[in-house]
Symmetry: C2
Subunit: 365 residues, 2 copies
DNA sequence: TTGTATGCGTTATCAT
DNA sequence: ATGATAACGCATACAA
């Protein structure tokens, strides 16, 4: 039987200081510093000698000393949708604010700019404010895809580093993307709903939107949902129907009521946080339709607890904001590298584990 | 319509320094320091004046400066079970090692002590080594309950602060507990299994153990599992059977095969990471029994992918270790407070979302 | 090309 | 009871 007993950390010697390295190399600490920061004006010979030592002792600067002397304040701008209380974007924003609190003492400041996700001109207006601020970094939620792409191009020209959260833009030049795999999220929803309805029956997919824009996340979730059944062998026992509801129509609630109560519906999938609107209808009609949706907002949690919504699939939106901020901390302050893509787990939330997702925000990379 | 646009951070003035506060109070910075650290030898009058100013400006020390001057190395000992590669405790240990890496530059060092969880004398031996090290803090996994309780009493006497992970000890005097709600975990397992078997049939609960000890976590999970059906209205459509398998018996695999293949079994719940042993049997017998268990270890992930295990309930064990370490960082270095209890979410892992749980470790509070 | 001096904010020690 | 000062490790401006 093999037992492990790691002790790599304790075995390491204490961190070397520049002073000690200077002594080892028989030079002054100014010279060592010039090598470390590649400021030149060092003879090739001594440079090599110092580099060798640095490598050998695995020199890592004392972050306290560096933080103290730099005494720098980094400003990060977050450009995310506005929201009313209880709506989805409140959660990522909370994560950003929580990160701001934690990282303030490390020299990271945050300014949030909210735009109306139904008005491209609002995005443009706020994005110009962001640029005027000349931040050290930007966190971008590209929910208005077309304008967001233009914005990223501008940022690349201005050489302002940025991270993307929520939904990705390919080849945007972003430092990293933090978000979800929407396609797989749809597949997961399909699996859960199938299990709930016992493997056969009619399923409705209902998209509820507030504008005409093409919503990538919604589409990918639906795609994944559909594909799950296409790949399944029980394809003939399940039939899918799709409905679109536009909240701008004055009678949208009535329309929603109609599509939700289509006869012989065993299950409904709403690929967004707006699933609670359908839950209201189902509760009101008092029918037993299994319901799966996305995002743990208060309204959805309410119906989850009541058993009207059966499953919610979540993407740790609070962590998205926090991690985006932490990424800048690691890059700007700690001068570390970070991974280019961070896909957060697709959490399955149900009545039974709901309680432990409410304050699940945890720091870590 | 109300839109939010938080900007609390940017509005705050730059952090005050002790020097500036001294100037405001017309004293030297030595006096201010004495007040801050309650070292006395300050006249009540000036003390009050300084305290008022400190409060007014919401003084927060510069952590870089403090870290630099303290230049202290804290040693944390982790006392956790030993493991063979791929076993459950490898994961919490990995989380601890990851935290050690991240926090090393902040002056936190970690030494891990592994004990054999089937041998109380091994725990005693390792716990004595821990005490001999005189660490600044201890992370304890009290899987051998009786001995662990005695150990915590000793720690309280010695005034060595400690945190508890995995399963709790009530009134132990620990700084905090980081773990799971085992009872609720069992309930969740019941819900999932019930949904999978379509709400009726025979279910077996199989406990696989390696010793005679009373295992609190296992018991609570089973309790929760049972209670779910007791509280359910369909109680008469489901029947529960319970089996115990002791791995010390030479023929335990054969026994496991027998209980797993009990006729008319629609579902099996294994309240531990050892569910893969049952999965092997089910796969071998080539029967369609729905299977739910705990913990995302490699062997279980394997059977999840194959569809032999239907659901795994996980408790972010990697984060448990990381958070425990982070707690000490916050207490010892940042001198912050922490919450006394941190229950991690009960994650539901299935074939469809498995991929995103593999590297889900994230820093944060 | 190299070495030296100063200061960042806090803590702790020493005089007064 | 209070004030002055050295030190932590690093970055940088300046002197040699």
């Amino acid at each position: 039987m093999i037992f492990f007993n790691f002790e790599p950390i304790l075995n390491r010697t204490l961190q070397m200081t520049i002073k000690e390295i200077a002594r080892l190399a028989n030079v002054s600490l100014g010279t060592v510093d010039r090598v470390i920061h590649k400021r030149g004006k060092v003879s090739p010979k001594t440079e090599k000698k110092i580099l060798d030592i640095l490598k050998y002792v695995d020199y890592r600067p004392n972050i306290y000393a560096r933080g103290l002397v730099l005494n720098k304040l980094f400003t990060i701008a977050a450009l995310i949708p506005s929201f009313e209380m209880g709506e989805y974007w409140e959660i990522p924003q909370n994560g950003i604010m929580k990160g701001a609190q934690d990282l303030e003492q490390f020299g990271i400041r945050v300014k949030v700019f909210n735009f109306n996700q139904n008005l491209p001109e609002s995005f443009i207006e706020q994005s110009e404010k962001v640029i005027a601020l000349k931040p050290d970094g930007i966190i971008l939620a590209p929910v208005i895809n077309f304008e967001a792409v233009r914005f990223t191009k501008k940022l690349n020209k201005l050489k302002i580093p940025f991270t993307i959260i929520d939904s990705n833009i390919s080849d945007s030049g972003a430092l990293c993307f933090i978000g979800q795999d929407a396609y797989q999220s749809g597949k997961l929803a399909a699996k859960l709903l199938k299990s709930e309805i016992g493997g056969k029956g009619n399923i409705s997919i209902i998209s509820i939107k507030n504008n005409e824009n093409h919503n990538k996340t919604l589409q990918k979730r639906i795609e994944g949902f559909r594909d799950y059944f296409l790949e399944s062998d029980e394809i003939d026992q399940i039939s899918l129907r799709e409905f679109d509801i536009n909240q701008r129509a004055t009678d949208w609630k009535e329309l929603l009521r109609q599509v939700s109560s289509t006869p012989d519906t065993a299950g409904i999938f709403v690929p967004s946080s707006k699933v609670h609107f359908v839950a209201e209808v189902i509760e009101d009609l008092n029918v037993t339709i299994k319901l799966v949706g996305n995002d743990l907002i208060e309204r959805n949690a309410h119906f989850l607890e009541k058993g009207v919504i059966n499953y919610l699939i979540c993407q740790r939106p609070e962590n998205q904001g926090y991690i985006a901020l932490d990424a800048f901390y690691r890059i700007l302050v700690l001068k570390q590298g970070i991974q280019k893509e961070k896909y957060l787990p697709l959490d399955i939330v149900t009545k039974e584990n709901l309680g432990y997702y409410n304050d699940a925000l945890i720091r870590l990379a």
